[in-house]
Symmetry: C2
Subunit: 316 residues, 2 copies
């Protein structure tokens, strides 16, 4: 019943860290690493790969950088239990700061880019592949990209040596029919590549849209523990593994780490279904206005937020 | 772009009341009535229709009964702004206690039943129609019903005079593909009837499954403000109206009433996405064990809950 080509990528630390500047304790990251490994997850995206000069370590936690010394603390002395991935943003990592694979615990670099950055992203991803890593390109915010631009980007990606290209719903704006349409387009235009999907949950559709992707033929699936992630969060990993039929997956380790590590964070940061995130999703907008509103003292003044985002539309 | 046959039913007070024994203030119910009317919603299900002898008014709030005097307080002196519905459970309402439509503010009675109660449900619904009401039959918990039983029930319903039959995912156990399969079956077996859908959100699929129903041809859509309802709750009304294309729908009144009436209830009762509700959903179980766990002092001990529901499975 299951499709062996399906791989699951846990993005708890990387996407969840967008909510707390990656200020997770080593215990949090280690428990997550142990749990997703025990659950049979294929990759753990443990943070961003950034040059030390790009951000301050005073402000950002270690998982904004993913230095080898940080990774080693998590892996410990034993054998590595799961493939590790890190995301790279264009312009935040110097080529020279990427170690060769032989000196790194990372297995895969995921290059995130907007459509106008596709050329730079391909160059960076090729560079990572030359250094020995697997590489993906995660084309963000495609819900705002015109058809011609998207086709051109897919043509460039098709000519590249990149093996995995992601369909990313950055704003949580897509319905399942949109995912179906786009996933089929990606598969058609990139016939030799694997397609991945990364969804946001603004409209409570991250899990449903991930399933829609699976049905259309997508094989790399992103999810996070209890859906932790920027704004409304992501596809919940525990739901995804419950759905998938591969007998190697186990849900109990996920429930356990949600109990000990994730629920305490829920007291401190507000990811999940909230009206401001829902509204930017339905309006196909970046969640930054909703995140600012949620961090303000007036987070429950949702009618004011509705008026501000919809009156801005009138002015456009 | 929109389908005029689609009708939206707000179940905020009826399904939300399962979490607080319908102890909503008149202000809450009146503000909900005003808001869903202003939003263009077609029906408001305001509670259960029960005989006074079936429950104690000391324990249950007025919306467990929907007496005409209670309804009149909400409607006030002006014209009624929206069609009103009440749910009837087999055995909890005596025929004699149902007033003729001419003496009632209710427009529609929705008879809830399990598959073995279909004959009684049809009789009660016919009785309501003879008294002048619209009537629906909401066949609950079909995720646990065998194929032969379901086919027989649909055959009985097809022979009846009932005009609307609901596909109900009581346990929040269905994926969109299940909804598609069942909705098409209902439509095929009940060619002259309207099909409705009522989803629960245990797997964050209530909205996605409602959309799957729409695509399959379902035209009566249940939802609640901010998804309030039993356990994981229901399809959020604000998401549904944002999705539907009928220009008569307005989201702002919903955001406003969520702010003033629903968010305060969120401090007091736990509906929504919680691991215990998720687990009973994935296991296709009644949420009663999850609700008991959530009401206990150990609600965050979710690994214990996981072990208790999965070890019970081993014993079966």
């Amino acid at each position: 019943m299951f499709r062996p080509a399906i791989k699951v990528i846990d993005c708890t630390v990387r996407d969840g860290g967008l909510m707390n500047k990656w200020q997770f304790t080593d215990e949090f990251v280690k428990k997550t690493y142990d749990a997703v490994s025990a659950a049979g997850v294929d990759y753990m995206e443990i943070g961003y790969l950034s040059s030390e000069g790009a951000f301050s370590r005073k402000e950002m936690g270690p998982w904004k950088f993913c230095a080898e010394s940080d990774l080693r603390r998590i892996i410990g002395d034993g054998e590595k239990k799961i493939k590790l991935a890190a995301m790279a943003d264009i312009g935040r990592i110097e080529y020279a700061d990427i170690p060769p694979k032989s000196e790194s615990s990372l297995d895969m670099i995921r290059v995130a880019c907007y459509v106008h950055q596709v050329d730079s992203a391909i160059a960076l991803a090729h560079h990572c592949m030359e250094k020995g890593y697997e590489a993906t390109i995660n084309l963000m915010a495609v819900s705002t990209v015109g058809l011609r631009e998207l086709n051109e980007a897919l043509e460039d990606l098709n000519k590249s040596r990149i093996q995995v290209v992601y369909l990313v719903d950055s704003f949580g704006a897509f319905y399942s029919e949109d995912i179906d349409t786009l996933a089929r387009k990606y598969i058609e235009r990139l016939p030799e590549k694997t397609i991945g999907i990364h969804c946001h949950n603004n409209q409570q559709l991250a899990f449903a849209n991930t399933i829609a992707g699976i049905i259309a033929g997508v094989n790399f699936l992103d999810a996070t523990l209890y859906g932790i992630g920027r704004g409304a969060g992501n596809c919940p990993l525990e739901l995804l593994l419950s759905f998938l039929k591969n007998p190697k997956f186990r849900v109990r380790p996920l429930v356990q780490v949600i109990e000990t590590q994730i629920l305490p964070w829920q007291e401190k940061i507000d990811w999940g279904y909230y009206v401001p995130y829902m509204l930017t999703g339905t309006l196909n907008q970046h969640p930054r206005t909703a995140m600012a509103h949620m961090e303000s003292e007036n987070k429950n003044k949702i009618t004011d937020f509705f008026d501000s985002v919809t009156s801005a539309l009138d002015m456009d």
